[in-house]
């Protein structure tokens, strides 16, 4: 009976891959909290989705840890705070932690070694605060999605209040290989995470929360379960270990049993997902009034002598982390920020840690799969691996022939660039690279469209102005002529009178 019902049920997980985990080297060691404070911190003004923050400090200012450096701009943005105390020595363009390492506006902070917090009174009972106040505080603390998406969390909390959200989903999946920062966080600071979840529920005015933890992290599961025991409205559940389990739709499908419609958002089925790291940051921000100035980073990979999880101030250069963990620079053939599946390869290590940097990997030649590309044999492994239910091989063919619209027609926009297709492809076809290229190209086209609309508006405005000026000139000319005629008339009248 039971087996029949499970057979008849929709599969709870679609697609995905089981990649080699590489987590053992870091998951059993405690988070290192005594990382030596760097001399200089490079704090980019855009570490989030949305508009860049605008600096409120000047070069030469002395700032304390947690002091506001730049305030958020517009609806979707996040402020940036000083990660330690010291002097601002520069506000200029520095290379961004991005595959291109193009310049990004950055505040450079020379630390004074005291690491002195700005005085901010902790809140006695944050549950007395109005729900709006909670999301205001989360926004003011500069909290963004710490799983890697870096979407401003306050915006999501507000979304939760405005839409009828019945469940807050907390992502403790950490499905990316190598990364264990969330695992360690759950093992060591479960009470803080649970408190953060309660605060988020309060801020979103939502009744229940479900924490999903992959079953390869039994210690984290046990710790979270224990911490969540007093709160019956927080359920801690185990989910199978299968990448990309941390995709919100996959977790929703598994834990809630609902399918988010294509083109829709998780809020459409009454669910919003946050990461465990974000929940912990909310706990620190709302209860202790501490903005997001540090994060836990997994430093791992074959070229790392002592891989570990470190809590580092935002703005620390990756090269300093590498020196601390003993990275063999010659063996490190590729540096990745994030996980190996969805992370970005960085061109060098003189780039700062930002809010979204969940891991820094220094991979050796053996760990990088760099085999020659071969023809597609139409084995359809990519089709079964795609968690979004798409046809990667067909989409890639269309994109290769520049038929982007045709690729969109078969679901390119539902691709989440998880890389499962590239991972399983026996012919080593760079499938996800095609989809990333195509998404960028579509965005570029949209920008071009915006620009041409903008151009048209500018033209119309210019033409209208030209007409106005011409009309004005004509009117002035007429007025001048009329005045002249009037003058002449008066003169002639005077002449006759005389």
């Amino acid at each position: 009976m039971l087996s029949l019902s499970t057979l008849l049920k929709e599969p709870r997980i679609r697609g995905g891959v089981h990649a080699e985990e590489h987590k053992a080297s870091t998951s059993s060691q405690p988070i290192v909290v005594d990382f030596p404070l760097p001399k200089k911190l490079y704090i980019p003004l855009q570490q989030h989705v949305g508009k860049a923050a605008e600096p409120v400090v000047r070069v030469g200012d002395h700032v304390l840890k947690g002091q506001l450096l730049a305030h958020s701009q517009g609806m979707i943005s996040a402020p940036v705070h000083a990660s330690s105390s010291g002097v601002i020595i520069d506000i200029d363009d520095y290379p961004a932690p991005h595959p291109s390492a193009l310049p990004i506006r950055t505040v450079v902070l020379e630390t004074d070694g005291e690491d002195k917090w700005i005085s901010a009174p902790p809140v006695d009972d944050p549950f007395q605060l109005a729900p709006e106040e909670v999301s205001l505080r989360v926004g003011a603390a500069g909290i963004v999605g710490l799983g890697g998406a870096a979407f401003p969390s306050a915006v999501k909390l507000n979304l939760g209040r405005e839409n009828r959200i019945h469940t807050l989903l907390i992502n403790g999946g950490e499905c990316e290989p190598y990364l264990t920062c969330d695992d360690r966080l759950m093992q060591e600071r479960a009470a803080g995470i649970i408190d953060g979840i309660r605060l988020m529920l309060h801020g979103m005015e939502t009744g229940q929360a479900i924490v999903g933890i992959e079953d390869n992290k039994p210690e984290a599961y046990a710790a979270m379960r224990k911490a969540g025991l007093p709160y019956p409205f927080i359920k801690v559940e185990q989910v199978p270990t299968r990448y990309p389990m941390g995709w919100d739709r996959q977790l929703i499908r598994y834990l809630i049993g609902r399918e988010v419609p294509a083109g829709g958002r998780s809020a459409d089925v009454g669910v919003i997902m946050h990461n465990v790291g974000t929940a912990y940051a909310v706990h620190r921000a709302v209860r202790f009034n501490q903005p997001l100035v540090s994060r836990i980073v997994t430093v791992s990979g074959g070229a790392v002598a002592s891989p570990m999880n470190i809590e580092v101030p935002i703005g620390t250069l990756i090269s300093e982390l590498f020196a601390f963990c003993g990275v063999d620079q010659t063996a490190a053939k590729r540096i990745i920020m994030g996980g190996p599946m969805m992370g970005d390869a960085l061109p060098h290590s003189r780039l700062p840690i930002v809010k979204a940097s969940s891991g820094i990997l220094a991979l050796t030649q053996e760990e990088i799969r760099n085999k020659a590309q071969q023809p597609c044999i139409r084995c359809a492994q990519c089709v079964s691996a795609c968690p979004a239910g798409l046809l990667p091989l067909e989409m890639a063919n269309r994109i290769r022939n520049n038929q982007l619209d045709a690729a969109v027609d078969i679901g390119l926009k539902d691709c989440i660039s998880c890389g499962s297709c590239s991972y399983v492809c026996p012919s080593n076809i760079p499938l996800v690279q095609y989809f990333k290229y195509a998404s960028g190209e579509l965005a570029a086209r949209q920008q071009a469209q915006h620009k041409s609309e903008h151009t048209r508006r500018l033209m119309d405005e210019r033409n209208a102005r030209m007409d106005r000026i011409k009309k004005q000139q004509q009117e002035e000319e007429q007025a001048r002529l009329a005045a002249k005629a009037e003058r002449e008339r008066l003169q002639s009248e005077q002449g006759t009178l005389a």
Partner: protein
């Protein structure tokens, strides 16, 4: 007397002919091809002339007549080409379309004399300045029509490629490995 006759007859003639012309304009009107209007609406409308036609309207007419390819508009790029081809119902192979490198004008501050000529010709008001003040180009609004280059007396305006920033950086297209048949 002769003068009066001449005036009256010529005036009458003029009125009659004018009336006839008026009627002809109304009833013998040449309908413009409606597709031309649609094509023109898609085009940038800046009359920059980079396509080789005097403006967007003549270019749209040439397109409708099939005298010009849908890929004629450099500021529109491949996205416009695709839209035009869709409207015209023709197949285009964007493989061969080299998206021309987008250029924007930039003022060299050393040689600008503040003559104001450039911003008077700029179709999108992308150049700001005042007499005897150094001018500047707002690159977001510049469409690369080069009209300002032609009028600048000191050649201080020059075209530069659009700067690559984090906002417009894109992933490159993966190279197809040699010897790999594409299916």
């Amino acid at each position: 007397m002769y003068i009066l006759t001449a005036i009256v007859s010529l005036t009458t003639l003029g009125l009659i002919l004018g009336f006839l012309l008026g009627i002809a304009a109304r009833y013998l009107k040449v309908e413009s091809n409606p597709i031309v209007d649609e094509l023109e609406a898609l085009m940038p409308g800046s009359q920059c002339g980079q396509c080789g036609y005097p403006g967007c309207r003549p270019a749209a007419e040439a397109l409708a007549a099939g005298e010009a390819p849908p890929t004629l508009c450099p500021p529109g790029g491949s996205s416009l080409a695709e839209q035009l081809a869709k409207l015209l119902g023709v197949e285009i192979d964007l493989n061969d379309v080299q998206d021309p490198e987008l250029l924007v004008a930039r003022v060299s501050e050393d040689t600008c004399i503040g003559c104001t000529r450039c911003f008077k010709v700029c179709p999108t008001d992308a150049i700001v300045g005042a007499p005897k003040q150094i001018h500047a180009v707002i690159s977001d609004a510049c469409i690369g029509c080069k009209k300002c280059i032609a009028v600048c007396p000191t050649e201080c305006l020059q075209m530069h490629p659009v700067e690559v920033t984090l906002r417009n950086w894109r992933w490159p297209k993966p190279a197809v490995a040699e010897g790999v048949a594409t299916c």
